[in-house]
Symmetry: C2
Subunit: 227 residues, 2 copies
Amino acid sequence: MAKFYSVGVGAGDGSYITLGALRALEQADIIAVPVKKYGEKSTALEIIRKEFDTDKKEISELEFRMSGDTKVREESRRNSSEKIISALKDGKDVAMITLGDVSVYSTCTYVHNAVKNAGFELEIIPGITSFCAAADKAQISLCEGNESVAIIPSLKSNLLEKYIADFDTVVIMKSGNDTDVISDILKKYGLENNAIVSSCIGMENEVIEKIQKGKSYGYFTTVIVRK
Amino acid sequence: MAKFYSVGVGAGDGSYITLGALRALEQADIIAVPVKKYGEKSTALEIIRKEFDTDKKEISELEFRMSGDTKVREESRRNSSEKIISALKDGKDVAMITLGDVSVYSTCTYVHNAVKNAGFELEIIPGITSFCAAADKAQISLCEGNESVAIIPSLKSNLLEKYIADFDTVVIMKSGNDTDVISDILKKYGLENNAIVSSCIGMENEVIEKIQKGKSYGYFTTVIVRK
């Protein structure tokens, strides 16, 4: 029976691809590539192309709309899942690629459930998360000894204040447009020199630096506050 | 000038090794292997041996004592760092391997500082963390949409109660002997079916299952509580 692989390709650099991910790509007949809109560039596809010859595989775009309209989002998820299940029914192994790790803020859950409900085998291949890649590139620890870490999906200022009191490290994902607010909060607690901004890791426009007020960063931005 | 690589090899399975890790191992003249006591088995070394021919490299054990005596711990760290720096001074590239990711509860910081202070270049290669591997094997998400995650180093029951109130997911590392206490706390909140225990991922004695009261697990155990 055909198999579905959900593959984390890591945080932006081809060197983060795992041997397990490469093997799943080799095994697959179809590489499914999530895009926000058909025809749009896929960062995950660019990453695997650095290390894997995609020409020998069929590439299938899966549209996952980011619309505020729930119906639009759900319809695109349903269409993408049906596309995958149809290929699996044709006996083709499918590997869907996603940035970072599959368990961390990826939109794969809907597809996983649909694939399992249709009776096909699912294997999830882990990937390097952006916060691990960022900490390692910045040569800081996320946690040592008895320390704790909070990971939040974007800035909610009241949560940041609460969590920097409770935790040794706070990771704020997708925070590219919030660096001014984050800077102000950190200054209030004397932590203005304790935050690393990382953006587009492993890509041409990679940024890893101490947070700077007045600077805006892109979508793939993670801030690590380390007390 | 010789270079020092700190290499995360992932959570227990050779398939989690990244291309970057393999390249660092290829580049290195010496593979440095942290052990709790000289001559002891190294899980990290066993993992890379599944995918990399270590016979062509010099293997150097580094003792990191887990003694309660700070002086004993510090002395072993100092000795290990001196061993690495001595090899770097001889012009040899050294790759130190560690389980999981280098930024998450690894004992590498001391060595990194020593290597940098001695003027040598340091590169950290990320690895798959146990909590990502566990979530992916259990086919659950750690976080979706607007959810937050807390990672704590071991069970402190008051913190678990606090954090399961505040977070969608709580990851409790090194919790193999605390599963009874964790079970009791979860029952109090009606969450007794919401915890996955993972132990020795990718190894022969791998366990991934719902938490069971009365069962004890090994050192490499992570509990994921998902509300």
